[in-house]
Symmetry: C2
Subunit: 477 residues, 2 copies
């Protein structure tokens, strides 16, 4: 169709059809822009094909039970995933303003992109190019572990027979979600985590509840431990932990869940002057702009959280900036909530755990915690675990971060994300009316507790706050 | 202890120990005030003893199953209820600043309250008296229906043997919640509703989904129908509906769920000059103050929604006003969310249904609706029903009202209640980051839809908005 001397012209070229790329493509096409959308793998990206969608479907299938076996469960997961992928592919293929292309894209120069598929090459041009190529799972080398026994999220959902024994390297969200779901389906799961607790990015209190819950459900969690070597003949994984090395028998496969790496190596970024960080990320401003005019990025290639929601949020900002540059700039994204869909669910927003400790002086912060079991809904529903915990600036009640553990944590955290976004203090959250007896009432109860504690000791709180502000002002000099 | 000539003095007298009264008593006592708390029935009020708590426990027990029978379920409900009531009673009885008294209280004059228990009378005095006596279920007369076959929320949870066949008069929140739960426990339930749909206060779309769901679960719902008479010998209820009169056989008892009436008759309100509305409500301002200085009211005695959350919210405002009169006035309560704990849950906030139609010109409003089945979480969890529906002012996106139907609706509505409270437009809600794939993402999806529709037709939307503002301005002249 096109030759190298005659590039096809578009308003925007989007490289990568995952959540970030699809958000930008759909948003701009919906506003009348012509979009070239290039994907070398599957439309939907990791989220639809190897990430959130299949993992959440697996969790749901494992929770609700009623399956002949793990193989059946995986078949259900694949059916859901493939159904969504097909729907997304059709939706984008049929859009009159979107040209969906399969192939590998790379920047040739600013505004010029070469697409290779099989032996065919096409040239595309557009004033704007959006990099949304996502990331790939990191595979840590374990001596002796053969490739056919190494699983990542890329291939996990395509196995027909689940391993009877599985070691998971990494106790982050993915390792915990998959580990708990597979354990419910009958797999013997051992999680190997190098940090001193699972879910190290969360508040320690959340890790504690989750560790107890997941262990009670039959998952073995080894902390401060790393995989050392594997013996295929005996299906044994050797690990090194705080008490020295030991062996785990009956490990038929190892799932890598220890992080991801952005796919930015072969995109020609250097060619057009876009620098990447040492680990391959593309730095952008709050509008998704790189330092090079006309080159944008969103999703996992951007430093920060590797999350579908972040990809979509930044994607929407790119759409707004491209389509309505005259719109007044909106504030930066203040709060990106995180959710882990284990049982119980764990979610947090803002500064929690180490991040909080690093950023805020402890005497500047008031922490309030309400256990769900102590709420009226917790009572009627017989809840025994879970909590709402909010960190707020002393005296003023400005919310700095929050953690929720329990049923619907991913929805409760949205309330707190909105509170942070709208700068609603805990006093304001205390005045809000909550449905009764909804779990979200625990947020109100925590806010009441803050208000009571603060107003009941107003002088002490005011002095403490003033002292902290003073210390901060001195520290700045 | 005291004689009529020597009243016991307190900072505040609270009449009624339900959610409203307990909030005020606990709040003020926590701030060092002395409180007399007078209750003629059970501490905890209707919420703990005959309302939210036992009904939500019943719903949970019915949902999770695993019981020998309905009698067992009721025993479980009572155990939970009595446990909470005992805990609340002890908590308040043991508080050093709260004098908990059993008996009937009435105002003698401003600041003076007489308490009668058995043959004993005591006089209490305080500069402030808070009326929080709640409400009692309305019992509609049905000719032929004997008292022992008439149930209200006051006695329902104390029956040992659930009726095999039950008619419920009233298709509001309570009738629907109880009806669905008892049907799950094996009772044949018929709901008799005089309006043309159940849950008439909600949006018609919510009634529709709920009617389908509750009917599919075996509850019979008769709309535009009223109970005419009852024949005890044949256990037959005669009803009059749109097709004339007919009989329902096998009705062993009738549960009254057609509204409540404030308990304000014998409080001596007229004595001190506090007027009540014709149906017995006590009008108050946004701080819970009646027209008479030093007399306050909260809870079901106040006109408006009969809800635990409203009682607590106004109670907290009373506490703030009494304890910190110098605090700057906070804005009025903008959004009181409502939740019905059926399966699916139904919740709404702000103006919906008839209320919206009455208050807003249809051309001023943009309605966006996202079906949960069309969301990614809906897909992974196999949801087939439920939605998020938001009514917003055209062009500006100011949220006027919202309805959520589905799992966790009572938590999702809290997000929208906070949005209304903080005046976050749908544009702001579209920029918010939601956890993925959480159900709350449906709110973001609805907001995106609004933004897309508005920004994609900006001229039309601006013209439509201007025309509506103009019409409103003309209408005002």
């Amino acid at each position: 169709m096109t030759t190298a001397s005659d590039p096809r012209r578009f308003d925007v070229i989007v490289i990568g059809a995952g959540p970030g790329g699809l958000t930008v493509a759909a948003g701009l096409a919906g506003l009348g822009r012509t979009v070239a959308l290039v994907e070398q793998g599957r439309v939907g990206g990791d989220c639809t094909n190897t990430g959130c969608i299949p993992s959440k479907r697996l969790i749901h299938v494992a929770r609700t039970g009623g399956h002949a076996g793990a193989g059946d469960a995986m078949a259900e997961v694949r059916a859901t995933r493939d159904g969504l992928a097909a729907r997304e592919r059709e939706e984008f293929r049929d859009h009159p303003l979107i040209a969906l292309m399969e192939g590998h894209a790379a920047l040739v120069s600013r505004g010029l992109v070469r697409v290779r598929a099989g032996g065919v090459t096409a040239l595309l041009s557009a004033p704007h190019v959006v990099i949304a190529t996502g990331s790939a799972p990191l595979v840590l080398p374990i001596p002796g572990l053969p490739p056919e026994r190494t699983l990542t999220s890329d291939d996990l959902f395509d196995v027909d027979q689940l391993p009877r024994g599985l070691a998971i390297v990494g106790g982050g969200p993915m390792g915990l979600e998959i580990g708990q779901a597979l354990a419910a389906l009958g797999t013997q799961v051992t999680i190997v985590e190098v940090a001193d607790r699972p879910l190290a990015a969360a508040a320690p209190e959340a890790s504690e509840v989750l560790l107890r819950a997941i262990t009670a459900r039959g998952v073995s969690v080894l902390t401060r431990t790393r995989a050392v070597s594997y013996d295929a003949a005996s299906s044994t994984l050797r690990v090194a932990g705080p008490d020295g090395e030991h062996e785990i028998a009956g490990v038929d496969a190892v799932l890598m869940a220890a992080g991801r790496r952005p796919r930015t190596a072969e995109l020609g970024l250097a060619q057009v002057g876009v620098a990447t960080t040492p680990d391959g990320h593309v730095p952008v401003d709050s509008w998704g702009r790189t330092r090079v005019r006309g080159v944008w990025a969103t999703g996992d290639v951007v430093p920060g959280s590797h999350q579908t929601n972040a990809a979509g949020a930044l994607g929407r900002r790119i759409v707004q900036r491209l389509a309505f540059p005259w719109l007044p700039p909106v504030g930066r994204v203040r709060a990106v909530p995180q959710a882990v869909f284990t049982t119980p669910e764990v979610a947090w927003v803002g500064r929690v755990g180490q991040d909080l400790d690093a950023a805020c002086h402890p005497s500047a912060i008031t922490r309030v915690r309400v256990d769900l079991a102590a709420t009226d809904r917790g009572l009627t529903d017989g809840l025994t675990e879970g909590f709402v915990m909010i960190n707020a600036v002393r005296l003023t009640g400005r919310i700095v971060g929050a953690t929720v553990v329990g049923p619907g944590a991913s929805d409760l955290i949205t309330v707190l994300a909105l509170a942070i976004d709208r700068r609603a203090s805990l006093f304001a959250m205390s005045r809000l009316t909550y449905p009764y007896p909804a779990l979200s009432g625990a947020i109100g109860k925590a806010a009441d507790e803050f208000a009571r504690r603060t107003m009941g000791n107003l002088r002490r709180e005011a002095t403490g706050y003033a002292r902290f502000r003073l210390a901060r002002a001195r520290g700045r000099r």
